[in-house]
């Protein structure tokens, strides 16, 4: 491999190399520093005159005399079943003091687009044990369901609880968690690790950590490494893989930083115009393939800057992912855990994963009814603030009470409380029973007769 000493410019995370032989786009690059250390980079732009390389570990310590080698291949992740139980850095090096992975295969970290025709529409219910998710925004295998949160909210706890409790009912299939931390603090990383160790989840997990003080550029490859590992475990080893990506906001920030360094024309709020495509290359790597046993389910976490759901990061994510779980500051302030606000939350694949034979026949009706009742009760709170509770009709007061009870009993649960779907629906029915029966317009009479506590008692 030829080594070039022809860097003519270093700018932010980019280096510009001159007079090379033809270099391929997206190629992996090694840069050798004067002190003997090596950094890695990737070709962003290549022509006969100049090659632009982004350096993953940052350009600190680089000078124009550094040697640059082009490997002739794109970035690959060495994979093997031994990945399970390992903690790796954001660029895939062992952090746990263990040996390097002896690869069974080396896979391109960018993956390839799944042929839509090869996809199996996701329909298998995953029970997370959290009522607001299972009951109201059901997760299914192969789905990508992000948690939209804000700074200071317990999204990490929720993600961990899901990672701990997620299971497919009546199935004993191999299950793994791939965790990618992007720009998270050391403290957060440690609490994640502690939880993984405490619950013994580490042995069926692969962990990639890019910490807040690691180079931002590295964040661009961390989720890709994680998903490559996930796809490998899912499609080569028939495992059902849950991928937790946190925090996608840091990823998008890194993307913007790179765009600025390359002097690109910025899009909305300075984020690059291709952010949608870039995010979709990550999120779309979830799914189930016809005829293969494994699956990749994604739980990306992103903190909405200023709790603004219209900010480009949550907005573009929402267009790619199949719904979102929204963590609410108001509920958090009320001391409710998990503070999931079901109203703006949505699972687009819910309908295919619930109902008879999957969860229970009354699931959809109960969920719709609770949505409607909670939305109405929530609206009434605004009215009460103006006219006072006394001005409400008897019916309205019931709905107002329903909203309070819903938050207190259905939403609120313990951090280790693993509710079965039956329990979740039972709580739902118990709350609905407080409303006049004539108001349960979204539930068939048949279902009411079968499940309504007042009728069952008879």
């Amino acid at each position: 491999m030829k080594e070039y000493k022809t860097i003519n410019e270093i700018s932010g995370p980019l280096i510009f190399v001159e007079k090379t032989e033809p270099v391929g786009y997206n190629e992996l690059v090694y840069i050798k520093l004067g002190d003997g250390t090596t950094k890695r980079g990737q070709v962003l732009d290549t022509s006969k005159d100049i090659v632009v390389v982004q350096v993953f570990e940052g350009t600190g310590g680089l000078d124009l005399q550094c040697g640059v080698r082009f490997t002739g291949e794109t970035i690959k992740l060495p994979v093997s079943i031994d990945l399970l139980g390992r903690i790796l850095s954001g660029s895939g090096d062992p952090l746990d003091g263990g040996p390097r992975i002896v690869p069974e295969d080396r896979l391109d970290i960018n993956g390839a687009a799944m042929n839509p025709y090869a996809r199996e529409p996701p329909a298998e219910f995953i029970q997370t044990g959290i009522s607001t998710i299972d009951g109201m925004n059901t997760l299914v295998r192969g789905q990508k369901l992000p948690i939209f949160s804000g700074s200071g909210l317990p999204h990490n706890e929720i993600a961990l609880q899901i990672a701990r409790q997620a299971k497919v009912l009546g199935s004993e299939e191999a299950f793994a968690v791939v965790f990618a931390g992007m720009g998270i603090t050391n403290e957060e990383a440690q609490s994640f690790m502690r939880d993984f160790e405490r619950t013994g989840a580490l042995e069926r997990a692969v962990i990639f950590l890019n910490l807040a003080d690691d180079p931002a550029v590295e964040r661009l490859i961390t989720p890709r490494l994680a998903l490559t590992a996930a796809e490998y475990l899912a499609y080569e080893h028939d495992m059902h893989v849950l991928v937790v990506l946190t925090d996608m906001t840091n990823y998008a920030e890194a993307l913007r930083q790179m765009g600025a360094a390359r002097e690109e024309v910025p899009g909305r709020r300075g984020y690059p115009g291709y952010m949608y495509t870039d995010l979709s290359m990550i999120y779309e790597r979830a799914g189930v393939i016809k005829g293969r046993k494994g699956s990749v389910t994604q739980f990306p976490i992103l903190s909405m800057p200023g709790d603004d759901i219209t900010h480009p990061i949550p907005d573009l994510s929402g267009y790619i992912t199949e719904g979102q779980i929204v963590v609410s500051r108001d509920l958090h302030r009320k001391g409710i855990y998990p503070p999931i606000n079901v109203l703006p939350s949505l699972s687009r694949l819910m309908n295919s994963g619930i109902g008879e034979g999957r969860t229970r026949e009354d699931h959809k009706a109960v969920s719709d009814q609770m949505y409607a009742a909670y939305a109405e009760g929530n609206d009434l709170r605004g009215l009460v603030a103006i006219v006072g509770k006394d001005a409400l009709s008897e019916r309205d007061r019931k709905f107002l009470e329903f909203a309070d009870m819903f938050e207190d009993q259905f939403v609120r649960q313990g951090k280790d409380e693993d509710r079965s779907i039956e329990t979740t629906l039972e709580i739902g029915w118990r709350l609905l029973a407080e409303l006049p029966e004539a108001q349960l317009t979204r539930i068939d009479t048949e279902m009411i007769n079968k499940y309504h506590p007042a009728h069952r008692a008879k």
Binding site: P22, V23, G24, Y25, N26, E27, D45, T46, S47, K48, T74, D108, N110, A113, M114, N115, P116, Y117, A118, R119, P121, G142, K144, V265, P266, G267, R268, P272, G273, Y274, Y276, T277, S280, E284, R285, A286, G287, I289, K290, R292, T310, D315, L316, G318, Y319, I320, E322, G323, Q324, P344, R348, D368, Y371, L383, I386, V387, A391, L392, S393, T441
Partner: protein, 576 residues
């Protein structure tokens, strides 16, 4: 004509030493990746490549095919599932497995399959572009084989029997050979004799659409909606139920899992009118968000060209593009890679022109052969943050005649289809008045405007109710609120997953609305006559009316409810 690669930056590749014309298709690199010339400067040409360019290096060969990006049009289109550049996805699956690798090509139409061709003309006939020379029974749809638009002459020989799409079936006197297949450049609209004024509604079976905001056959409509507002379901309902002979569905930058759902569901759906699988009259184009961006840009053109081709046979075609925002973003992405001067929000300055060019390809037309056909375009727009003032939505609204405003507040309330009745509009209602008069009932336009008026009044009253509660309103206004609620819940709400309710024909819509208005009239009269509001709003037949839309024997059940209603109001009147 061969040259070499000069520079690669993502999907944009600069090539040198090869003469090109704008929009020529070129094969880039050793693997021959397909691309299209989008800029020429001196000896350098800029190419957008439809596949991933990783690993391509400067100096690799480039070949210019000297043809612009074209689609293959002929038997075999129906039931097909294509990517954005008309590569059949099932064939790609066979050739390269579950993931789409690059450098694989596959013709849009099956080259091996033989089709039974029945000639419709004889030797010596003078034919010109658009004339039908014969037919192929493709599915239950008759595929009319036409003379390509720019060809004319006298028929020297016409064959009959089984042919592949590339075999000659007709020879003209000037030796021109016609095959079952023709090619057409996607960025050019296919010629017609003249465009007609739209005068027939597209019946979608969705009450809020047909009833309140109809689109005409050959018209254009936009569905903007913030994410999570039920846009996809609405579009799928349209694809399933619209009364057009051909459906083209473009998933442009769509989610993979949702596309999988469409691909899985369509083949299982039956066409409500023929009982045949819906897929038999459908062409699906799927370019998910993680597939190459340049192919996404091309996908809408591929789709509309196929739509125009079926229109030219004299069919009514509906085309759904989901979503044109993703398409616009693809333009933006490519434009920014080209380092073009950006317009609003980074979109290229030609955004408005491209959008209007696309929507103008819709229309009700007299084809070259004198038949009548139409392409109705329904484009979804996904405004970032639900902000309708953004450029794609705004430029779209300037062109389209119908606007179905999806509202996430409604969907949170589980009001489906969550189309906001106050913000939506249709500019076709007048143009369609004659049709309604003839086919539904002369009083339909009146019923509709009454209903709209009540809904409008409701929103005004709601503001007062928000402040003082509904009990403080005068009784007649309370009744208006009640009727408005009935219109919303009984008429506008429609369950896409319910066997019966998923489709509602025009006649049923009319009767349902008429029944609600009948209640409104009876109730108002009774109220004026001194009856108690409580009695009026608690009539049982009113609640029963909410369920009739779900009934298979709609007419029967409706009549029972209506006569019960008459009786109940008689009783109320009697009591006063």
């Amino acid at each position: 004509m061969k040259g070499t690669v000069y520079r690669i930056a993502g999907p944009v590749v600069t090539v040198i030493d090869v003469p090109t014309k704008m929009y020529d298709v070129v094969k880039v690199g050793k693997e021959g990746l397909m691309g299209e010339v989008i800029g020429i400067e001196g000896a350098k040409s800029t190419v957008q490549v439809y596949e991933d360019t990783s690993g391509i290096a400067p100096g690799e060969p480039v070949e210019n095919t000297s043809m612009s990006l074209s689609v293959e049009l002929g038997p075999g289109l129906l039931t097909s599932v294509y990517d954005g550049i008309q590569r059949p996805l099932p064939v790609l699956l066979e050739k390269m497995g579950d993931f789409i690798e690059r450098g694989v090509t596959a013709p849009g139409l099956d080259r091996e399959k033989k089709w039974e061709f029945k000639p419709a003309i004889t030797k010596g006939t003078k034919v010109a572009g658009g004339d039908v020379i014969g037919t192929v029974q493709e599915t239950h749809i008759e595929h009319r084989i036409m003379v390509p638009p720019n060809v004319a002459g006298v028929v020297d020989e016409i064959k009959s029997g089984s042919f592949t799409v590339t075999e000659c079936v007709c020879k003209l006197a000037d030796e021109t050979e016609l095959t079952l297949m023709q090619k057409w450049p996607v960025r050019e609209s296919r010629p017609v004799r003249k465009k007609l004024m739209p005068d027939t509604p597209l019946i979608t079976g969705q009450r809020i659409l047909d009833g309140l905001f109809p689109v005409a056959k050959g018209g254009t409509a936009a569905i903007p909606g913030p994410f999570g507002s039920g846009k996809t379901v609405t579009q799928q309902q349209l694809a399933k139920w619209s009364d057009t002979e051909i459906v083209i569905y473009i998933g442009c930058g769509e989610r993979g899992n949702e596309m999988a759902d469409v691909l899985n569901e369509f083949p299982e759906l039956d066409d409500p009118k023929t009982g045949e699988p819906l897929m038999e009259r459908t062409v699906l184009i799927a370019n998910t968000s993680n597939m190459p961006v340049a192919a996404r840009e091309a996908s809408v053109y591929t789709g509309i060209t196929i739509a125009e081709y079926f229109r030219d046979m004299g069919y009514d075609v509906s085309l759904m593009a989901d979503s044109t925002s993703r398409w616009a973003e693809a333009m933006r992405e490519i434009s920014s890679r080209l380092e073009e001067m950006p317009g609003e929000e980074g979109y290229p300055a030609y955004l408005a022109a491209r959008l209007s060019e696309f929507y103008e390809r819709a229309g009700s037309v007299e084809t070259l052969s004198g038949a009548k056909g139409s392409v109705t375009v329904i484009g979804a727009v996904s405004p970032p943050g639900g902000d309708f003032s953004e450029p794609v939505t705004q430029n779209t609204l300037r062109i389209v005649k119908v606007f179905w405003a999806l509202d996430s507040k409604l969907s949170q309330r589980r009001h489906f289809p969550s189309i906001n009745w106050l913000e939506s509009y249709s500019l076709y209602t007048d143009a369609l008045a004659d049709w309604y008069n003839e086919h539904i009932s002369p009083d339909w336009p009146l019923l509709r405007s009454d209903a709209m008026e009540i809904l409008q009044k409701e929103s005004e009253l709601q503001e007062i109710v928000q402040l003082v509660g509904s009990d403080a309103l005068p009784e007649d206004q309370q009744l208006t609120l009640e009727v408005a609620r009935m219109i919303r819940e009984y008429f506008l709400q429609q369950n896409a997953y319910h066997d019966v309710d998923t489709f509602c024909e025009m006649d049923k819509q009319y009767k349902l609305m008429k029944a609600i208005m009948k209640y409104s009239d009876l109730a108002n009269t009774a109220l004026e006559g001194g009856a108690e509001l409580e009695d009026i709003t608690s009539v049982k037949s009113k609640d029963d009316l909410s369920k009739v839309k779900f009934e298979k024997e709609f007419d029967e059940k409706l009549n029972i409810v209506l006569s019960a209603m008459d009786k109940e109001f008689d009783a109320i009147r009697g009591a006063v």
